[in-house]
Symmetry: C2
Amino acid sequence: MEKIRIALIGYGNVGQAFARMLLRRKDYIMEKFGLEPMITGISTGRRGGIIRSEGIDTTGLTDEMFNKELKALDVIDFGEYDIMVELTPINIMTGQPATDHIKHALELGKHVITANKGPIAWHYRELRDLALNKGLQFRHEATVMDGAPVYNLVQETLMGCKITEVKGILNATTNFVLTEMEKGVSYEEAIEEGRKQGFVEADASMDLDGWDASAKLTALMNVLMDVEITPLDIRRTGIGGVTKGDLDQAAAQGKKIKLLCHGWLDENGQPIGVVEPTLVDQNDLAAIMDATMSYVTVNTDLTGEMTMIEHAFEPEIDHTAYGVLSDLLRILTEITR
Amino acid sequence: MEKIRIALIGYGNVGQAFARMLLRRKDYIMEKFGLEPMITGISTGRRGGIIRSEGIDTTGLTDEMFNKELKALDVIDFGEYDIMVELTPINIMTGQPATDHIKHALELGKHVITANKGPIAWHYRELRDLALNKGLQFRHEATVMDGAPVYNLVQETLMGCKITEVKGILNATTNFVLTEMEKGVSYEEAIEEGRKQGFVEADASMDLDGWDASAKLTALMNVLMDVEITPLDIRRTGIGGVTKGDLDQAAAQGKKIKLLCHGWLDENGQPIGVVEPTLVDQNDLAAIMDATMSYVTVNTDLTGEMTMIEHAFEPEIDHTAYGVLSDLLRILTEITR
């Protein structure tokens, strides 16, 4: 059976979960597409890289198998593979080095999947056009709402509609902190609790200051509304200024405060993006989103509003890995037609 | 430019809205697919039918253009068209005559779109397999949640996932009546008000008794979970037994009563479907669905729960028409690859 060879650039939690999920769906892929999926390259941050054209057994990886000298770009430039999966840690202020990884792979004629929102927030149009010109697939479903198929919802199922507005709750950390503060937990304690539960990072400032939400809103607007903005164009307010008093006052009015993301086109067709703590009614969809839920509502000229919700799921990492897998399945659908 | 010819079997509100929407997106379709869409057959319930291979101007239809003798099957059997759109009124207890219309068209080698849930609830597998064997497209996005892309969500964007459970609120009439009763309006007055607003039918019993919800749940389960059941297999309870006292008692506990649909596989892999008035918490997604909203949550083995909400949209008829248009666009995508 013909092989489909995959290089994983970045091999942390998501990469490992994806490798496990790929094994779980190997038979399905072989049956449906007549292709045997195989991981032929891995690049890690600390252990180095592996290039092995006959395939890597990801269930039995040892440190000795890695070559410390092999950097990400080495695996990308010298590996033998058909699809590059970009999973390196995000730099939310530049989209690098992920953007360069993706460019190298596309230039070399490889399809690309990324779960990294940086390149989509900073360099989407360039990467999209590069892929288009090369006749390659460039997919990024896991960059917003993890595995929830937001991009595909619009591109595959709302065909012919023009997206005029997107809104939603896109950042779990801030949503969790606000939910905890409503219960009387302090800002600092809430962050600490989120760290214990494993979904708040050591440096949570990118979340708390609204940068993560801004990057996701930017990514959604760039892709779905075909605009060209960066996270710097978003009117951004984090949750640092929200006090227990604000939340109590909201509750007294039957309301809540949520960090909402909202993007639309103004009367001149210019894109406007806003991320800010917002008073919402208790019957509002936003109000019932607990910390582990997120949602996106899109408004279109033909269908009005449509919402997709991602529910809590343990462990959440699998959600992101599924987003990557679903991108892989779409690529295989396209290239085997 | 090559033509793509469409026969509309049934030409009520949805058919007319679809014809308008098709005109609105004619340029888009010609540009995207290189095909000029054209309606070449129309069948109505009372006015008769039209067959006109050079195309029908739907903006200037007069009674004189219809041939009273032409029945639906005449237009299907003798018309010149590529795609048949089935929009006749539903018979929820048999799926007829829509099912026969679809079979005729498929046997004749035509692609089929339907907004009629009857055939999907009663004869889905037979019709699906007939289309598959003939290499034809059979699409039915508008049968549940109007234009909201529930089927496509699963089939196009949750590829590789096994759907293990579906649940949601699928019937607007019962949801509206329960919402009005919460406010103190009587059952009968609520129904009358729904009739005035135009979305409750003269004979509302199929809605109130839960048959419409059961047919939709059946359709979802047949398509998404690949089972073979009919609406008779659903454990069905309508809302006729729900009193103002029940709603007040629920409210006193901080809850609401909603007509929920719920389908899953039992421990032996047998499909179970239940439609019944259900107590839900006020923070539950179901509780914030007002009369004009509906939702479906699907649970999958790889991604956990995912929800799609359809919001209020005026006029709702356009939602259904968009469902039909989106099916058309998918068919054009497939046949022009």
